[in-house]
Symmetry: C2
Subunit: 298 residues, 2 copies
């Protein structure tokens, strides 16, 4: 089998998502337009579109057409973006830059940044509900909405951010750090895969496999992210390495050391690949994404 062309695949899918987001979320007229301008500023600030790409890839594994899945895939990027806007606020992580450009509140002010995040989260549910207009049975669409709530709410991502706040400046063990990441990042990654699988018409074993793959992918993603913060190249990353340490964040390298963190990442990538064992070449993009984490530079 020829090697899977991950770079071209990711570029093509990113373009698909970028252009769908452009269409789905236009700037309105009227005095309220600035909140959408602010939301779009962060939405188009250089995201890799990982969650939408995973969502579409899972729909591919399920064998469904991806067109009816695109609005939901976009919704996942909107949820991710809102969480970054709120996370960057002075009261939260107080970040001035993200991906090399000023954060939302640095450009639009805090009040509009709060509202822009709220608007992205709210609108995401319009696009999660949109599958019904594209031939997906409405009860499946409702299941997707419930999964999105659980992945992004207090049982998922928001819970993870709360755990992160609770752990700040506190000595915590590896299990707690992992518990935090599983909620903060893993839940929405897994949720994106599950949502793609459901909208693609996948059955229960496929859903379980996607959830399992997403769990390990999420942890491998976080560990390699932490490693980049220790070893990464500022230009490629668009942020300054060492910022985790400066903020006294509990990271895998801090808890395990660099060598053991690398091993842990490789182990999670292997587990992610195992979750895909029963699938044919349709799962090749997901395999390539997992393997890529071990060689990522940004």
């Amino acid at each position: 089998m020829p090697e899977f062309e991950l770079k071209a695949y990711l570029a093509q899918r990113k373009q698909l998502i970028d252009s769908a987001l452009e269409d789905l979320f236009p700037i309105p007229s009227g005095l309220q337009k600035k909140v959408v301008e602010a939301a779009r500023y962060s939405l188009f600030a250089g995201g890799k579109r990982l969650r939408p790409i995973l969502c579409l890839a899972a729909a591919d594994v399920a064998g469904g057409p991806i067109e009816p899945v695109i609005p939901a895939a976009c919704a996942l990027e909107m949820i991710h973006t809102y969480s970054l806007i709120h996370d960057d606020l002075p009261a939260m992580d107080n970040d001035d830059f993200r991906r090399g450009v000023p954060t939302n509140h640095k450009v639009f002010g805090e009040a509009i940044a709060v509202l822009a995040g709220d608007a992205l989260l709210t609108e995401a549910f319009e696009f999660l509900a949109a599958g019904a207009g594209n031939g997906v049975p409405p009860d499946r669409v409702l299941e997707v909405i419930r999964i999105a709530v659980r992945a992004s709410g207090y049982r998922g991502m928001i819970g993870g951010q709360m755990i992160d706040l609770e752990c700040e400046n506190r000595k915590v063990d590896l299990a707690t750090v992992e518990y935090m990441h599983v909620h903060k990042t893993g839940a929405l990654l897994s949720g994106s895969l599950e949502i793609g699988a459901i909208l693609g018409g996948g059955d229960d074993p496929l859903l379980k496999a996607m959830k399992n793959y997403g769990h390990h992918l999420g942890l491998a993603f976080q560990i390699t992210d932490d490693l980049l913060d220790v070893e990464g190249d500022a230009t490629l990353m668009g942020k300054t390495p060492g910022s985790d340490q400066a903020k006294n964040k509990m990271t895998y390298p801090a808890l395990l050391g660099v060598a053991q963190s690398r091993e842990a990442a490789a182990e999670h990538v292997n587990r992610a690949l195992e979750a895909l064992e029963s699938f044919d070449e349709k799962a090749e993009p997901l395999r390539a994404i997992a393997k890529y984490l071990l060689v990522r530079k940004a």
Copy 2:
């Protein structure tokens, strides 16, 4: 016909909503529990439950049972509560008290207040989706979700808050103030009524009537709110009269004077009542609520 007992009706419905909210949104275990504690703090901080009550009242007019509507009614209160938490933040209105108790960020800090608002908004969509488990056809439930998005997102409430920010410390005309209120408050009130009507099985003319009633009720509500700020009793209101003026907010009394504002409120109440003309005694609660605005003391 004996006079409708509005006070007893509102108390009974409020109790129904309070107890449903208590059940639907329990405190989880784990390190993430504080975000739900914070959300519940504001959720149970003395709200009148106007949006859920309107939602259930519209379902009554539609002739449907109210039980399947209760989770969606609760969701509307959660959306309203999240908007208050975010609105009170230092970067927004910077309010230390609401309904006589400290605002969320004064108790839990700004970071948790942002997350608590986010959690309430996210979870609301779980309860809006819940109607499907209660016998409502799934496509009607999806329609409800879309209405909630439009009523609360940038096309509704969030848009209204953005317009409010844009108008701050600026001389604006009556049309602009009205445009702001129609979005900021009116959209979610109308949305609550539409959602109740849909979940109650109402037809298109009923939906239109509810929307129309909600539009005028919302404006009457806002005008009487502004009037209370000029003339109200601090003890009954749980906030200090005159705060609008102190903040340089554009209000109806500031634009029209007190006498003409009273006339405008009465006119909107009449229009709200006209929207209900074709309905029988099932619409009596909605009529009583509209009439009450003209004699409200808080």
